[in-house]
Amino acid sequence: MASAQFFGTPLRKSQRVAGYLFVLPTFVLFLGFVLWPILYTAYLSLTSWGGFGAPRFVNFDNYSRMLHDPVARRALVVTLVLTGVTTAILTFLGLVTAVLVNVIWPKVGVVVRTILFIPGIVSFVVSAVLWKLIYDPNIGTLNRLLGAIGLDSLQHPWLADHKTVLPAIVVVTVWGGLGFNMLIYFAGLQGIDPNLYEAAAMDGANTVQQFRHITVPSLRIVTGLIVSLGLLNGFKAFDVIFVMTGGGPNHASEVLGTYLYSLAFGTTSGSIPQLGYASAFSVVTMVLCTLAVIAQLWLTRRADR
């Protein structure tokens, strides 16, 4: 194939030249601002560097330091737990709401879809600030609502307690991400052959059985996509946590993104940036994201069979 193209007709040749020229600008940007940063951060993760002078090569010290750093371990665990829980909830709720919206009267469905989707189009900063106000321990609406319906005992400093801070973050993430998943599942539902349901109904399958044996298997590829996007979004989580808690209280909501950011661009003034150690977290994040994509390719391939 390739050789036939290399020695092709003049028509082919002009296509080849044009092809490379058209791709070139994007590729140059890619080399300069994606590939080079990836390689550079991998290199930096093997050094110790405060940002001045030359980086000092330290081999895998940063990675072994990570294993002994309680904050790093905490950040890794929190990242994995938040990602897992959020992805599970988002996938489940996304499917359930999509099925319900699909059943409902079409006109009502459009309104519901819009209401569920709007939280996903505003920035994470806006949603984080908004929810921070709602969670406010003194005048926050959540506590006031609880007080108003007589549940004073449940009032709580939601973001300041290490037991409730993670569930509080999950709520915000689910609130923002649900509409997207619902919409993708909804589109997937439109692609299922209605005859399947009719045949199943004639065989006496009830609604739950139809859902389990037709809807869920037919949506396997969509589910693979949603799960892998959920994992990717979880591994790169930053904005919501940075704005709402900054990783606190006392690192209880620290994730890889917020920790590497504070190591590199330190919120506490006067501290020396630890660019080498922070870069090691970048590498871990990239590895996790790559695994999420590989998992999706694997799931899709399995679903194709």
Partner: protein, 274 residues
């Protein structure tokens, strides 16, 4: 699930309260932005008296128009830049035949899985060494290079739906590849472009991490980092804070409502092709 009346009623019964909860934060944001400052501690949740004074305060006291304009400017340039790169490369990957086409395509797609949290350190250092730190030009380069591959992916999927015969015929007529692209292809590309525009608009307008890191000079900041600092500044002036949030959301909602159909279509395209 059967679409019986029972099923419909059941779905409504479940979805209605759910929608109320989902919509609550925005309703609350609007109500708070319209209430008087001295009623946030003890007033009822729905204010008795509405006032627009918080909007005036948010608009004037933090140079809101300046940052709003920065966001408009940065977002517009990014959208245009991404479109130029993405239509060219997307077309090449969809319709032109050249060696290593698929390898290059897959390589470029790795961008999609690299989060900005992981790349922020080298990108910061890179801009610093180019002397582009603290300049909107540097931010634009990062935005365009980070977003072009996804837009390229969308445009390629769109170009693939155009018939090959169209291009073959133009080639037989002796048009150069660039002429064919400009005269024959681009005029047909509007739906694809619309999809990229809305995606890019939303993601650039909402971007926080990179802007907050590479720009330090307050005057050049777009809205998102400013909203973040606003939170500290107005920690008790909730009407002004929520008014600022509301104002920042207006363009996003307008674009979404006006281009909803393309957005959903583009999402499906992206989702299915993925």
């Amino acid at each position: 699930m059967r679409k019986s009346l029972l099923g419909k009623s059941f779905a409504t019964f479940v979805l209605l309260p759910f929608c109320l909860v989902m919509a609550f934060p925005f309703v609350w944001m609007l109500l708070t932005s319209l209430r008087e400052q001295n009623t946030i501690f003890n007033g009822p949740i729905i204010p008795r008296k509405f006032t627009g004074s918080a909007y005036r305060e948010a608009w004037t006291s933090i140079e809101f128009p300046l940052h709003f304009w920065n966001s408009v400017w940065i977002t517009s340039v990014t959208v245009v830049g991404v479109l130029v790169f993405a239509t060219l490369s997307g077309y090449a990957f969809a319709k032109l035949d050249f060696p290593f086409r698929n390898t290059l395509f897959v390589l470029l797609l790795t961008t999609l899985m690299m989060p900005s949290t992981a790349l922020i350190i080298p990108l910061y250092l890179e801009l610093k060494s180019f002397g582009l730190l603290d300049s909107q030009a540097g931010l634009l380069v990062l935005y365009i290079s980070g977003s072009a591959p996804f837009a390229m992916f969308l445009m390629r999927a769109f170009f693939q739906t155009l018939p090959d015969e169209l291009i073959e015929a133009a080639r037989v007529d002796g048009g150069s590849e660039l002429t064919i692209f400009r005269r024959v292809i681009l005029p047909l590309t509007r739906p694809g472009i619309a999809t990229v525009v809305i995606f890019q608009f939303l993601s650039t307008w909402n971007e926080f991490l990179i802007a907050n890191t590479v720009l330090r000079n307050t005057d050049s900041l777009p809205l998102q980092p400013v909203l973040f600092t606003l939170m500290g500044q107005y920690s008790t002036n909730w009407p002004a804070l929520t008014a600022g949030l509301t104002l920042s959301v207006v363009p996003v909602v307008i674009v979404y409502v006006r281009m909803q159909r393309q957005f959903v279509a583009g999402m499906m395209l992206g989702a299915v092709k993925n």
